[in-house]
């Protein structure tokens, strides 16, 4: 184990070790979005600033999960920076994404099969990062909505709404696939 459980007493040397272990990977993750070296380095810095700020709330015993956590934070930081560059609103209080309809799906029409799992994986792959990030942090790292909101720099309400919408989106996509006889 790289890090101990009492996170509020994590030695700064260990955080530095994490930084050197992941900075190149995080750089390229940011670069994929920002397409700019300097901005990508800034994104790495911002990622670690957010990580350090919230370290007391995080379970960082699992190195793989910690690496994934840094990835998700970095990707969101880069996305925020990209939007800011383009002059878009970064963290609206409430998301008004029209791609998420308010229509309800009918679970009865869904047939759960082995393929459903792979289908969910492929839906996740193509999902908007802002929704995917909340869902991954919630399911993969078992973080609270409050912590997710702090890590991603969004409000609690926004994080809660994104989590709800992410699940709903997957269910709707599954229903569509079923209707189109893809599943």
């Amino acid at each position: 184990m790289l890090l101990k459980k009492k996170n509020h007493q994590v030695k700064p040397d260990l955080i530095e070790t994490l930084y050197y272990a992941h900075r190149v990977r995080l750089y390229w993750i940011a670069y994929e979005i920002l397409k700019d070296g300097d901005s990508s380095q800034d994104a790495v810095q911002e990622t670690f600033e957010r990580f350090i700020k919230n370290i007391a709330r995080l379970n960082i015993e699992d190195e793989g999960k910690t690496a994934a956590l840094l990835t998700v934070i970095c990707r969101n930081v880069a996305l925020d920076m990209y939007r800011k560059k383009k002059g878009e609103e970064v963290t609206p209080l409430y998301d008004n994404d029209s791609s998420f309809s308010e229509t309800t799906y009918n679970p009865e029409n869904l047939f759960i099969s082995k393929e459903s799992y792979n289908a969910v994986m492929s839906i996740l792959e193509g999902m908007d990062i802002k929704y995917k990030s909340v869902l991954l942090l919630s399911c993969g790292h078992e973080l609270s909505v409050e912590t997710i909101a702090k890590l991603l720099g969004i409000t609690f309400e926004t994080a809660k709404k994104r989590l709800y919408r992410a699940r709903k989106y997957i269910k709707e996509e599954l229903a569509k696939m079923k209707a189109d006889k893809i599943l």
Partner: protein, 225 residues
């Protein structure tokens, strides 16, 4: 939503949870080619870690200080209780603060912390330090006590007022005094000092090698029961 629909919905949620957890694990996999970071970035990161080290040390220092403070408090309370409950320690403690270090102070705690004596017949609230009782003879109407230290002595004789008392005042200096408002006299005879007084029930006589002020003080603290 019907019950069946709720069940399917829950199953779907579990499916999403599992798939998301796997997708999350995959987030760590990334083959990244080497890249060199700018000196400015390196400087900023070192500054960030330095700040974090400072905060970490401060947190640790706060925790250690808190523990030491708690420990000191416990020791202090234990010491206070011990000093308060053990008369010898208490006397030494007050002597240290009020006598040794500040001899001119008006607070004279030592007066009430000196040796005392009490039996069925009499209570003596003040006996100079170092004196121990060597004789305690109690009769129906009288009492005879002797206190001694290495070089000096104090004798107290108490008699019922009805008994006749004879004191040899020859070659002595006699002086009238009052003990607790009662008539008495003081006699200096060579190196021996004698005081005598009565309280209407008993007569008291103290013979001692101590000086006058000390004997009068003993007399003032002497009360019949």
């Amino acid at each position: 939503m019907k019950t069946e629909e709720k069940i399917v919905d829950k199953v779907l949620d579990t499916l999403i949870d599992e798939a998301s957890a796997e997708a999350y694990r995959k987030e760590a996999d990334y083959n990244a080619p080497e890249v060199s970071f700018s000196p400015e970035h390196e400087r900023n990161m070192q500054k960030l870690f330095k700040n974090e080290r400072r905060k970490y040390n401060l947190r640790r220092a706060t925790v250690v200080t808190g523990k030491v403070a708690c420990l000191l408090l416990v020791v202090l309370v234990a010491m206070s209780v011990t000093i308060y409950n053990v008369d010898a320690l208490r006397t030494k403690f007050f002597n240290f603060f009020f006598v040794k270090e500040a001899p001119d102070t008006e607070i004279r705690f030592t007066e009430t912390k000196q040796n005392s004596f009490s039996n069925d017949m009499v209570s003596i609230g003040y006996i100079p330090e170092g004196f121990k009782i060597t004789k305690d003879k109690e009769g129906i109407n009288n009492l005879f006590l002797i206190f001694e230290n290495e070089a000096e002595y104090i004798q107290l004789k108490m008699n019922n007022l009805s008994l006749k008392i004879a004191i040899n005042t020859e070659k002595g200096t006699l002086e009238n005094i009052k003990i607790k408002g009662h008539e008495g006299f003081y006699l200096q005879k060579g190196t021996e000092t004698v005081i005598f007084w009565h309280d209407g029930i008993y007569t008291y006589r103290i013979n001692s090698s101590l000086e006058k002020s000390e004997i009068i003080k003993i007399a003032e603290y002497t009360t019949a029961k």
